[in-house]
């Protein structure tokens, strides 16, 4: 039933001529990008949450999806409780950071009490995916099954108009926030002394030699899990004002994150960002143009990439 889209015509544009066409195309193209921004930032953070643990400590851990769920719910509850419909950017960022810390704490606790004892990747995958059921069960008991929402930040930030496209400012905030987190992470990894230790133990380095060189593996792994938990929880918190928090969404988050790793490659921050754009924009375009493929497109992209480049577009082969 989908009808052809009528493209945006900015008011005051002369309706004929070459300029009009190119401007119209540019505008349409920009609208795809803007509309994809929330999903892009969400995918970047979630996928890197999974990617970071995989890259630094060579472990597969799916707990992040549960933490994402907790992050979303806690942001909604805390935001509604403290801020209500009064909104200030600083306090919202403070809430996000607090939620991030909570996520980090959960991640470390789960690692220390449970994941530490798992021996192989396959065990980790199965055990942590079962753990997701536990997370969603706890969410159900605490918050019930009705979706909850805290929309003040999203609504109060207002909208901008860029070349005839209406874009909520929150989209830019969300994308900026996740990009800043990614840049901070990149800075940490590549410019600081601690980052050096992380890279030494990563799949690119050599875990045993890192320890021989005096890197404390336990601390590195704990911090890795903390950062991963933080990213996941903040992803939940950032997305909650747009989409609310609802029960049973962790599976989908997990899939998108895993697919992004397949496409983007392990350990590549740039790969994660670009893949997020590819998947996000592909979703937006197919949603309007080819609804039949909308749900399938991320999976089709991942399968195609795997056939052409088995280690992801920017990935390299790791043996561990």
């Amino acid at each position: 039933m989908a009808q052809t889209i009528i493209n945006v015509v900015p008011e005051g544009t002369p309706p004929v001529g070459h300029i009009f066409e190119s401007q119209q195309m540019l505008s349409t193209f920009l609208s795809y990008i803007f509309n994809a921004l929330p999903m892009v930032s969400y995918i970047i953070m979630l996928s890197f949450s999974l990617n970071f643990i995989l890259y630094i400590s060579g472990r597969v851990s799916l707990t992040f999806a549960g933490i994402y769920l907790v992050g979303a719910y806690v942001t909604v509850s805390v935001g509604t409780y403290f801020l209500g419909q009064n909104f200030s950017l600083l306090s919202f960022i403070a809430i996000l950071l607090a939620v991030g810390l909570l996520g980090a704490a959960i991640s470390i606790v789960v690692y220390a009490t449970f994941e530490r004892f798992l021996k192989t990747d396959v065990h980790r995958m199965i055990a942590t995916s079962s753990l997701l059921m536990v997370f969603s069960g706890i969410i159900k008991i605490q918050w019930g099954t009705t979706p909850v929402t805290y929309s003040a930040p999203f609504l109060k930030m207002g909208i901008s108009e860029v070349l005839g496209n209406i874009v909520p400012n929150y989209y830019f905030f969300m994308f900026g926030f996740s990009l800043i987190l990614m840049l901070a992470l990149a800075y940490f990894l590549f410019r600081t002394a601690w980052g050096l230790r992380f890279r030494a133990t990563s799949l690119d380095g050599d875990r045993t030699m890192a320890q021989v060189c005096g890197v404390n593996q336990n601390i590195v792994t704990a911090i890795t899990f903390a950062i991963s938990g933080m990213l996941a929880a903040i992803a939940g918190g950032l997305y909650a004002p747009i989409a609310g928090a609802s029960y049973g969404i962790e599976g989908n988050a997990l899939l998108l994150a895993a697919l992004t790793i397949i496409v983007g490659g392990v350990g590549s921050i740039g790969g994660a960002v670009l893949t997020a754009f590819i998947i996000g924009i592909a979703r937006v375009i197919t949603a309007v143009e080819m609804p039949l493929f909308e749900l399938a497109i991320p999976f089709i992209i991942a399968s195609a990439v795997l056939v052409v480049r088995p280690y992801g577009i920017w990935g390299k082969e790791f043996k561990h």
Partner: protein, 228 residues
């Protein structure tokens, strides 16, 4: 001074090292023997990478076995692994940094890497995976001596190198010894060991068969072959 007493290490269910005792003080000792004789295992046990089943490893009279792997370098044991094992995505400088920042070289006089390994000066900003085998070996050594540990372990440090590089590295080993370090090495061939070792310990099935200077050992071996 490094002293090993009754060291026993299991590899799976087999004994790789059997009640081995030895001492290194102010010299370059090289463990030699065939493949699987246990020479690498001894080094790895001292470095803390493999689990020791019984025995003692004393560093200046202090047992190092309870010290966790990542504290060994700090307590004064540096290890150069068999096949270099650099952090290959990092630059040479970063490779050396890792060892420096992880360890507080408490009270030890720092070694001058630039003086010992002048070849590295021009390579500091190159990615280590782009270096040649010999250069990588140098980085590996630099990484181990960066914090000036008292005992150095070299695992087959001359393996797979060109003749000129072998000579260069044996000179470096001698220079390091001159700084007052104890050095324990492992080599699979007596010829290579003879290039830098003061004393050679011949291992067979995890036990010491013979000890002596390179020339003595060579003679013993050729005698035993003739006897057969």
């Amino acid at each position: 001074m490094l002293e090993i007493k009754d060291l026993t290490v299991f590899y799976g269910t087999e004994k790789a090292v059997r009640e081995l005792s030895m001492k290194v003080s102010g010299e370059v000792v090289c463990l030699c023997g065939r493949n699987g004789a246990g020479k690498s295992t001894v080094l790895r046990a001292v470095a803390g990478i493999v689990h020791v089943d019984s025995g003692q490893i004393l560093l200046d009279g202090k047992d190092v076995i309870p010290i966790p792997l990542h504290k060994r370098l700090e307590s004064g044991i540096g290890y150069v692994p068999e096949d270099r094992k650099l952090f290959k995505e990092m630059t040479v400088r970063e490779n050396i940094e890792v060892a420096k920042i992880g360890v507080k070289a408490s009270g030890r006089k720092e070694m001058n890497i630039d003086e010992l390994l002048p070849e590295l000066a021009s390579l500091y900003n190159r990615k280590s995976k782009l270096l040649s085998g010999g250069q990588q070996k140098l980085v590996s050594i630099a990484r181990a001596i960066a914090t000036s540990p008292n005992v150095l372990l070299f695992d087959e440090v001359l393996e797979g190198l060109a003749r000129s590089m072998m000579i260069k590295i044996s000179e470096i080993v001698t220079k390091i010894k001159a700084e007052g370090k104890d050095i324990l090495c492992a080599e699979s061939s007596l010829d290579k060991a003879g290039m830098y070792a003061d004393r050679i310990i011949w291992l067979e099935k995890g036990q010491i068969v013979a000890t002596g200077s390179p020339a003595e050992i060579k003679k013993q071996i050729s005698d035993s072959i003739r006897a057969r």
